[in-house]
């Protein structure tokens, strides 16, 4: 799980964040002033500072926030001037938006705020619908508005071209003021809440931001999304009363608290209307005591009442945002917040500590207990009462309750530094409780004052206060001033009361002096926001340790167990022991003779003869030691054939792969041998329970690996592949795998499973392996093996981590139009099910649909999916003339059926040798395939983010395969596939299906300089590219495999595409220019298979396209990468006809060095 942040503000207005991986609060040092409130999302944090302005802190990401400004230049032809900007009076502006209605000269574009900068100057876009245009980027048409083409025709009377300019958001990781609209916002903001990112994923990074003003009005910030993080304007939302506080969940829940203590719920929030339409009223949980605070998540609402009681709202969901009733919960809290995954955070009313609600799961949303987050703040340790100005500002932050209140004034008006600090550094400390400022729905600074004891906040104190304060920022009210001076007076008063205070408070005092982390010294919090904090009930957090323990575990992390001296000692001594006790005595006889070991069990077998069905069989694995001490075994399947006992057997050393096939009805797996692969008909067995199946699989895998002498992690040359279930398999290439003319047949390759769940895996020949999950998370291979069901010995321990993947399950709702009722779910008898899979052949309803296997669990409810190709209408419907047909997103006269897709997310948690590479989700990745000179040499690695950005990873070496950071490579359009060849040639495919070549990529210029547009094969949209040593292969959306002709070092773009094959799903070209694909429709002797690994035969330097295909493991394969295999095969000299040599002479000279780089 990626590291994310919990944000909080302490009672002195200092902003802190706590990382999910961290053990201390980090102060946000760049906050220029104190903050009242913060509200976080994963990508940013909003806050109200004490100047009552709203500030935004966008977390730095390797992916810059770039906004593309565009304007169109329009021209008309006339016989005198040719094309010129002299347009007809009825025409559009010379420079306009795409519709022509808006006048948009270049110098009209302004940066929206000081947080932005221009990336460069205006330039002409020379791409038109995936095709390169002539030099000046014009596209032509008969008239405005009409269809434009890139070619000028005889009747082209008008032309236009697009100008582009990018601006970049520069205020990353810092608090940047949101420019305020003084005219529309007379009164300052007092509360703020962001959320709503789950309502609509388009535009990317969309957020809802709600704010409350001091007068009780509610405002909604329009237009916040990734490319416009600040949003565009505030819009007032009409209200039934005056609001004091508001809370917006990640989904469609928005609740607010009214002055009178009731709550209001926003209704009508949806995809098309994130702002909602109306308010519904909900009574306070307690009839006598009004509500003061509310916090909402996806499916939960928590509230607090004036007496600090905590309430949980029953029955809240998207259809019923108001819920059904209140349940009283344990605890007394002053503030409450719901973070991601409906996790709950609160601030205790007594101790002002931040509490985390433990045990909140989707089935138990109210959780179990409150647990205090007890971690130190940064700098707590270096606490000192130095009297210098600078250090005092810092130590103020650490002293917390002792003198922190005065910090508010010292740092808010810098002039007062001069006087304030030294005053109190030696003063005794009062027990802090009595001075905890109370934060309720009101502005917290003013509450600071009103909450204090009688007499201490009076104006008289101000004049009597010892601190003489310099000129003040006018925005700072007197209230704040009073606070500080009152504080001074108060600390002065403590000196007097100290003598009379009880013994216990004296004891507390001394304790606090000796140990600055004593219980009474813990930070006082005012506000907390978990909206950016990705934790769930399973997350291991280090937030709850006592101070002592956290220090210990920190020091442990400095010397992890792997490098500990004791561990080294044990390894060394064991190897010494082996030398001492065994090495000289190897000739001695072993006391125990190795014997046959049999494991038996019962299973079901998918019988070979028709009618095929599962039958009960006895299954046995016999293991024995082979003649050379190697282990071997035989599998037996004992079955009854017409009352006759028969058996089927397979030698363990002939098994090429064990494939788990888990679904909700069967715990089955498939066993392949070369013969079975040819037949496309594996031995399919099913165990009674999942556990039993995993035990067998683990045992059989060990047995297969033993018989082939394979153990430990995959080699650097290994071939990686992924099935359509996301299972990962790896194969060790034999030296003769790429031999000519007699390569190892593909069906003899042995595959073993590696734990984890991925959609894409890419590797290179120095052992750098990256993967991408179904949820687009990037993963880097750790060098381990096993994981998943390989518990125990077939698995390494050090490099195995938890891996989580999320994917969507889809079902379709189908309707037919009839003249009486319009569209209904009553179809014709010949029609498909009303709720079905994509094909319409299988009934799939919301209730009967199960996650893909027992390993997956639902993590969301069914939602309408709008991101279907072809587009949808506002309700997600796609229309067509009839089932099955091509669908479009709007209704026409000819349409009689419609369907819409529903999606539901499910999650898988497994283990494997993979570590996450946060934070950017990816859709493709490629690594320079050949060997680097040394383990510290930087290896080029390129990737495409799931939004289509091109990225270049910096700092990737054999020692640090995860690299350090992303470098963003600018493009004018989103991309979907990328590949880098052995000579650093980078090819990529854009989303529109065209190809691009990146110029001038070298070790000096790892990101290259510009994109060259390469037209795609005629009428085909490309979808994937792979570049080997020299060859470039692409696959298009219709399954054609293309080879790039004419690629030479001096002309790396090549000249044309040559068709190689069809029915191809994916291609991988390796550092030997070897070509492997995943092919569909491979005919075996018993069955047809889709998703089959195939190897191109006959690839030679002079014949790079090869001759034919050799078929390997499948079906159900989805991805393969051979880019790790750089082992040159042994050269075989063919007998020439003129030579006398009767037989081919095998030359054993082996050249395993990397090729061509």
């Amino acid at each position: 799980m990626p590291v994310s942040l919990l944000w909080a503000v302490d009672v002195y207005g200092r902003v802190y964040s706590l990382s999910t991986a961290g053990q201390q609060w980090e102060q946000c040092r760049d906050a220029q002033m104190e903050f009242k409130r913060v509200t976080a999302a994963q990508q940013c944090c909003w806050g109200i500072a004490c100047d009552n302005n709203i500030y935004l802190n966008v977390h730095a990401s390797d992916l810059p926030v770039r906004y593309q400004e565009e304007t169109y230049e329009n021209q008309r032809w006339n016989p005198v001037d040719g094309f010129s900007d002299r347009l007809l009076p009825s025409d559009r502006w010379q420079l306009s938006d795409v519709t022509g209605l808006q006048h948009q000269p270049l110098d009209n574009f302004r940066l929206p705020s000081s947080s932005w900068e221009w990336e460069g100057d205006w330039y002409v876009d020379e791409n038109f619908e995936g095709e390169p245009t002539e030099k000046e980027g014009w596209s032509y048409a008969i008239d405005f508005p009409a269809t434009y083409t890139k070619d000028k025709k005889w009747n082209s009377c008008v032309r236009r071209r697009r100008w582009l300019r990018y601006r970049r958001y520069k205020a990353m990781d810092t608090w940047a003021k949101i420019p305020s609209q003084q005219t529309t916002l007379p009164d300052p903001f007092s509360d703020i809440s962001c959320g709503g990112w789950e309502i609509n994923e388009e535009p990317r990074g969309r957020l809802s931001l709600w704010a409350v003003s001091l007068q009780g009005k509610v405002w909604f910030r329009e237009g916040i999304y990734h490319h416009n993080p600040e949003g565009s304007l505030w819009e007032e939302v009409p209200l039934p009363g005056e609001v004091v506080q508001i809370s917006c969940g990640p989904g469609d829940l928005v609740w607010a608290v009214l002055w009178e203590g009731q709550l209001i719920v926003r209704e009508g929030i949806g995809r098309d209307c994130p702002k909602g339409t109306s308010w519904a009223m909900v009574d306070s949980p307690s009839p006598d005591v009004g509500a003061t605070h509310v916090a909402v998540g996806v499916n939960v609402v928590w509230a607090l009442t004036k007496d600090n009681k905590v309430w949980f709202r029953r029955g809240v969901n998207s259809h019923n945002p108001c819920g059904s009733g209140w349940i009283s919960m344990v605890g007394e809290m002053i503030m409450i917040n719901v973070g991601l995954n409906d996790q709950v955070l609160a601030i205790g009313s007594e101790d002002r500590a931040v509490y985390f609600r433990q045990g909140v799961t989707s089935s138990e949303l109210s959780g179990k207990t409150w647990k205090v987050i007890s971690v130190p703040r940064d700098g707590d340790r270096s606490h000192s009462s130095a009297s210098s100005l600078v250090s005092d500002v810092e130590s103020d932050t650490e002293k917390g309750s002792t003198d922190g209140a005065s910090c508010i004034i010292t740092s808010s008006s810098p002039e007062s530094f001069v006087d304030a600090p030294t005053e109190h550094s030696d003063q005794p400390i009062e027990t802090p409780k009595s001075r905890i400022p109370k934060v309720t729905s009101d502005s917290f600074i003013s509450e600071l004052v009103s909450d204090r004891g009688p007499g201490k906040t009076s104006r008289e104190v101000r004049s009597a206060g010892p601190a003489s304060v310099g000129p003040l920022d006018p925005q700072w009210s007197n209230v704040d001033l009073e606070e500080a001076q009152g504080q001074q007076a108060q600390t002065g008063a403590v000196v007097d009361t100290a003598d009379t205070s009880s013994l216990s408070s004296v004891a507390t005092f001394t304790l606090a002096m000796e140990d600055p982390y004593g219980v009474d010294e813990h930070p006082m919090w005012a506000w907390v926001s978990g909206g950016g904090c990705s934790v769930d009930s399973h997350t291991q957090l280090n937030w709850f340790n006592s101070m002592v323990q956290s220090v210990q575990s920190m020091s442990l992390s400095v010397t992890p167990a792997q490098t500990a001296a004791w561990r080294k000692q044990i390894f060394e001594q064991l190897s010494e022991r082996t030398k001492r006790e065994m090495d000289n005595f190897r000739h001695y006889e072993q006391a125990i003779e190795q014997s046959v070991w049999v494991k038996k069990g019962t299973m079901q077998w998918w019988r070979d003869w028709k009618p095929h069905k599962w039958i009960d069989v006895h299954f046995a694995l016999e293991q024995f030691s082979g003649p050379e001490g190697n282990k071997d075994g035989i599998l037996f399947i004992y079955y009854n054939f017409y009352e006759e006992k028969k058996y089927l057997h397979a030698f363990v050393n002939e098994v090429t792969i064990l494939v788990p096939v888990l679904n909700d009805s069967k715990h089955s797996f498939a066993i392949y041998t070369p013969e079975r692969t040819k037949q496309r008909w594996p031995i399919r067995l099913s165990a009674a329970t999942e556990l039993e199946m995993h035990d067998w699989l683990a045992l059989l895998s060990v047995s297969c690996c033993d018989s082939r002498g394979i153990q430990g992690p995959p080699s650097k040359q290994a071939i990686w592949s992924i099935t359509c279930k996301g299972d990962i398999f790896v194969s060790e290439p034999s030296l003769s795998l790429e031999a000519m003319p007699y390569p190892t047949p593909c069906d003899q390759m042995f595959w073993r499973q590696v734990g984890g769940h991925l959609r894409v895996v890419e590797c290179n020949s120095i052992g750098i392996v990256w993967g991408i999950g179904y949820d687009h998370t990037a993963w880097v291979y750790t060098g381990g093996y096993g994981g998943g069901f390989f518990q125990g010995l077939a698995s390494s321990t050090d490099n195995i981590y938890t891996q989580v993947d999320v994917k969507n399950v889809y079902i379709y709702e189908n309707q037919r139009w009839n003249p009486v009722t319009g569209y209904t779910n009553r179809g014709l008898p010949t029609d498909r099910y009303m709720w079905s899979d994509a094909s319409g052949l299988h009934e799939c309803t919301k209730t009967n649909m199960k996650p893909p296997s027992p390993h997956w669990t639902w993590v969301s409810d069914w939602t309408i999916d709008y991101s279907v190709s072809g587009g949808t209408d506002k309700e997600g419907w796609q229309y067509a003339a009839d089932f099955p047909a091509s669908y479009h997103g709007h209704k026409t006269m000819k349409d009689f059926v419609r369907r819409r897709r529903w999606a539901r997310k499910c999650k898988l948690t497994t283990t494997g040798p993979w570590q996450e590479v946060p934070p950017i989700p990816l859709s493709d990745v490629t690594i320079l395939p050949c060997a680097a000179q040394s383990s510290v040499d930087v290896v080029p690695l390129w990737a495409i983010s799931n939004k289509g950005d091109v990225l270049c990873r910096l700092g990737v070496t054999a020692l640090t395969p995860a690299g350090s950071s992303w470098l963003h490579v600018g493009t004018d359009q989103p991309f979907k596939s990328i590949s880098i060849g052995a000579a650093s040639q980078v090819w990529a495919i854009a989303r529109d299906g065209s190809a691009f070549y990146r110029g001038s990529v070298s070790s000096q210029s790892p990101a290259g300089d510009c994109w060259y547009h390469i037209p795609s094969p005629s009428k085909q949209k490309l979808k994937q590219v792979s570049v080997g040593r020299t060859s470039v292969y692409t696959v298009d959306e219709n399954g054609n495999l293309w080879y790039r002709q004419g690629v030479t070092p001096s002309y790396p773009q090549g000249s044309s595409w040559e068709h190689i094959s069809n029915n191809v799903r994916k291609v991988s070209a390796g550092p030997l220019d070897q070509v492997w694909i995943i092919a569909d429709k491979v005919q075996g002797s018993h069955s047809l298979s889709c998703g089959t690994v195939c190897h191109r035969l006959g690839v030679q330097p002079l014949e790079p396209k090869g001759q034919s295909w050799d078929y390997g493991i499948g079906g159900g394969w989805d991805h393969i990468t051979v880019r790790g295999n750089s082992m040159e095969p042994p050269r075989v000299h063919l007998p020439s006809l003129t030579e006398r040599t009767p037989l081919p002479v095998r030359n054993t000279e082996i050249n395993s060095s990397a090729v061509g780089c």
């Binding site: 044990i570 390894f571 190897s575 082996t578 006790e581 005595f585 070991w597 045992l699 060990v702 125990g792």
Partner: protein, 283 residues
């Protein structure tokens, strides 16, 4: 960096080169050749000495044969201690191979004095060892998991543990034994560490008490912590010459080694951590 799993293999495949010689007092028909064998450290003597017995019976008359028992430099070797423990306890720091004397008669003067040993030396069949081995595993699991894991196992799993040991099948044994080595991550270890501390200097067979892998404050207990509590004399005093060696599987782990890790990786197949405290050799 080597993997922790390799330790399990090294422990399992530890072998002690041994030379068996027949006791001088035994009556033989012709001279008995010594017999050389690699003994698995984690096994038990009766499981691995069938070949020895056969070898010496060839030179003896049937009527002269009672039970076979073994002795090293005057110390009878108990069958129910793992072989590695016997070696570490009695024969550490000696020249290899380990020289064991084979006896076939009980009325020799050595044993006559110590008749109480008879039961400890006399092992009628492998089923006795099996029972002993399984009861050790159950006892260990009682300490580690309140017996929950071992009780959840099926009879065939128990059998597989035993067969794994008997036939020296590492994979077979560990396929089951790994379940006994699991623990909830949030607890940081087993409930109690099953350990036994052996010493040559005392008549007490061994020390075995309750000891947790993690202190109530959450600190990880180390081998040193265990010894401090159970056998402080084994630890060197400040500035003093080391008087004792703390040996597990023939090696001396550092005292700061976490006890939980030791229990998971250096336990014998019976799931106990057998720790030998022996005097440091003087030379």
């Amino acid at each position: 960096m080597a993997d922790d799993k390799d330790v399990l293999r090294d422990v399992w495949f530890g072998r002690i080169p041994t030379c068996f010689t027949l006791n001088q007092d035994e009556v033989t028909e012709r001279e008995a050749e010594p017999y050389y064998l690699l003994l698995p450290r984690v096994s038990y003597l009766p499981l691995v000495t069938d070949k020895v017995k056969k070898h010496f019976l060839k030179v003896m008359k049937a009527e002269d044969v009672e039970e076979m028992w073994l002795e090293y430099e005057g110390t009878p070797l108990k069958w129910h201690y793992p072989i590695g423990v016997l070696f570490d306890l009695h024969a550490s720091n000696t020249v290899l191979p380990w020289s064991i004397t084979v006896h076939f008669k009980f009325f020799c003067p050595l044993v006559a004095k110590k008749l109480q040993y008879r039961d400890l030396l006399h092992c009628t069949s492998n089923s006795v060892i099996e029972a002993h081995f399984m009861s050790s595993i159950k006892e260990a699991d009682a300490l580690k998991h309140k017996s929950q894991v071992v009780n959840d196992m099926q009879k065939k799993d128990h059998k597989q543990l035993w067969m794994g040991l008997q036939n020296d099948k590492f994979d077979q044994f560990w396929a089951i034994n790994r379940k006994l080595m699991e623990y909830p991550t949030e607890e940081g270890g087993f409930r109690y560490i099953p350990f036994r501390i052996y010493q040559t200097m005392s008549d007490r067979p061994f020390i075995q008490k309750l000891f947790r892998p993690v202190s109530p404050e959450g600190n990880v207990h180390t081998l040193g912590d265990l010894l401090k509590e159970m056998y402080p004399a084994a630890l060197p005093n400040d500035g003093e010459q080391k008087r004792y060696q703390v040996v597990i599987h023939g090696i001396e782990p550092l005292l700061e080694t976490p006890l939980q890790w030791l229990s998971e990786h250096l336990s014998h197949p019976d799931n106990f951590l057998h720790i030998c405290v022996i005097p440091t050799p003087t030379d």
